[in-house]
Symmetry: C2
Subunit: 205 residues, 2 copies
Amino acid sequence: MTSDASVPTPATARPSASGELRATALDQFASVGFAGTSLQQIADAAGYSKSSVLYHFASKEALLEEVLTPAIDRLEAILERFLATAETVESRRRFVNDFIDFILEFRLELHTFINQSQSLRGIPVIDRAGVLIVRLSDTLCHGEASTEDRIRFGIALGGAAYTLVAGMTFLGEEIAPVDEIRPALLAVVTELLAPVTVRTTPSRK
Amino acid sequence: MTSDASVPTPATARPSASGELRATALDQFASVGFAGTSLQQIADAAGYSKSSVLYHFASKEALLEEVLTPAIDRLEAILERFLATAETVESRRRFVNDFIDFILEFRLELHTFINQSQSLRGIPVIDRAGVLIVRLSDTLCHGEASTEDRIRFGIALGGAAYTLVAGMTFLGEEIAPVDEIRPALLAVVTELLAPVTVRTTPSRK
DNA sequence: ACGCTAGCTGACCGATCGGTCAGATCCTGT
DNA sequence: ACAGGATCTGACCGATCGGTCAGCTAGCGT
């Protein structure tokens, strides 16, 4: 990906060491937490030495940044796209669809950020994600701070992050396939964020 | 609200050292995580020495157990009460009400458990809570494993835990008072857990 | 006045933390 | 064959981790 321009990169195999380390670190960060994950654990799980991890990434914090950045970029793109067009029932529905795809694709990154942003304040990528979430919330609530609307958004966000990572592992024994989860998740999140069936008009006082 | 009935407890002061330590530890566990919290931090924040913490609690793990146990006991009582009576629309509504009260009263404990149960497996109180959650989920879904119903439950659980602790701190700048949060939370959770029932619309728009 | 105990603390322990550094190994261009 | 950069590693560093222990102090029953 990053380093090898000429080398053919088989999509099936995982030749890149830094990629392997990123993936391993993400698993650990999402399940044990950033503070609870040691560089030694990451190295052992990925089959490298701790020194190798610090060769590829300047520090533990830098590793976190590299791991989370793609997800934040994607979320930012989704928000910008939503803001670029006038809001209609249709555009809001499309936004929710994008959002679901984002959640499903970056569930581990989302879970990591959602559950640890408080304790990781000061790390640039975390702060970036923080203002993004606030913008998202403000956008969906049209600036006016309706407590219930904000709670709807918070529950959809935190609930999805929890359910897809932590909840699935011990609620459903085996994780249901994405094609089964997606429609169910879409239905619930749509209900929370775009209650179109009941009140199609955006709440304006 | 956490009224020690007969003990002469001046509401302003906080006489109990172990109580002070429990409260401080809970704050830290919920915001920085169990692994991310050191005994030193807890001691400093509470104004004691690390040795004092270990005098009152046999170990860091024992401290966690003491901190979480009241919440788990309460949750267990709520479930047993729900199971004790035949299920009706009314009993389910009452259960949701109990559940909301539980979430509001034990938000920090719930958040701590919800977001860290994976990494804390093996600790008795965590495992106890785990089977409780599964029983709750099975009860609400009537055993039949409807993916959407399970997702509804997971989102309500994880979403509430997130919103009331992490979400509120940076979505709404100041935390709204409980009397404002409760009805909103009740509406959203009812919508998620008791979809058959008509939404209790105060419809004040 | 005395001893006893509960509460609390600093000194200390081995283990592990994130991070540095000097090589060892391998791979490629010449 | 050789040079040189990329990759990887073990040894090592100071700091901090959870936990132990002996001792200090204040209050209370006698």
